[in-house]
Amino acid sequence: MNISILSGKGGTGKTTLATNLAVYLKSKGYKTQYLDFDVEEPNGFIFLKPNILNEIDVNVKVPKIDEIFCKNCGLCAKNCQFNALALAKDKILLFEKLCHSCGLCSILCPTGAISEVERKIGKINVGEMGGLTCIEGKLNIGEPMGIPIIKSLKKLFKNDYINIIDSPPGSSCNVVNSVEGSDFSILVTEPTRFGLHDLKIAVSVVKQNKIPFGVVINKSGKEDSIIEDYCIKENIKVIGKIGFEREIAHKYSKGELLIENETMKSVMDNIISSVVEVD
């Protein structure tokens, strides 16, 4: 079973919930994996502190032009949909970060001057913490496209496990690709206007992908009606509330887990009974 955790707005508590839920499920005897899909800035490992067992390179294919065979006809540059190739006065220029690895240039080249070579854009770290498998994708700094890493992460899902997907913030391609195919999505939000605004966008992402979902209100307090009124109106289930508590903030700031915290426990127990056991 794949459970994705997203939010729209950043900093609402995706990683807090995802890391604790993974550890909690594992402690309750469920076969669980934690996967950090926030490849641009993964931070789940700060809390889980796993021993890294394996590092897997993530490569993409880019064209390599053999200047001996290239006749500067420009067919490759003319047909590249991503402007990754240009025909300068007497040579072809490659802009590899714009390349989407479609391979069209190598098929079109009339002299066979273009071959495809691998280019590393990041890696996947696989680790272990108290029997819990912890996985993170890490895009190299300066790289514009995280999707190849997200696709590689998805290949590490285990069928008989609960795969906890810690999604990136926002609602970009990275988020859509991360949550696509989930059996359930947990939308973590906070009771602010900004939280609500981005929650609505996240709701439209999961609805469009036909993923069943519920909302968790983090930093819950007297402003909760901002979120609750919307959820009642849209018939969305609020499956948990994490209080705006000093103890939680204190532990978070030290990179500690919260599985002993009573509010966290009750939220996670509710997720287990309403999502995991129903499946």
């Binding site: 540059a77 402007n83 990754a84 240009a86 025909l87 300068a88 006065k89 220029l93 802009f95 714009l98």
Partner: protein, 119 residues
């Protein structure tokens, strides 16, 4: 000499556009005859790599010189690899920049500016 200048409009009285990849039009002018034509910048509608698409168009037009404001690293590379010299426009009207160029008063751009300068 054939020069290309980045423009917000289609004629010599138009406003100069200091952006390269995201300008509306390129005005291509022959400084010997002062005959000119304007072409729509394809780069302006590119979701990615606007500068490269724009530079490719300018290279294809076989110009000797480009007058613009800021050129990002990708377009700078395409233009200079094609032997095109780049000058920094100083005036907000197209034809005044051409006059300044003819008088030798425009400064040569010798290194790439910041990327995504036009967004």
């Amino acid at each position: 000499m054939k020069i290309c200048i980045t423009s917000a409009g289609e004629n010599l009285d138009s406003s100069f556009d200091s952006r390269f990849g995201r300008c509306q039009f390129f005005i291509i002018i022959d400084t010997d005859t002062m005959k000119y034509k304007s072409i729509l910048n394809d780069g302006n509608i590119s979701p990615h790599g606007a500068g490269i698409a724009a530079a490719q168009q300018v290279v294809n037009a076989e110009v000797d010189v480009v007058i613009t404001g800021n050129v990002g690293p990708n377009s700078f590379n395409v233009l200079t690899e094609s032997g095109i010299k780049i000058y920094k426009g100083q005036h907000n009207i197209i034809k005044d920049n051409i006059d300044l160029f003819n008088e030798g008063k425009l400064e040569l751009i010798t290194k790439a500016g910041k990327s995504h300068g036009g967004i």
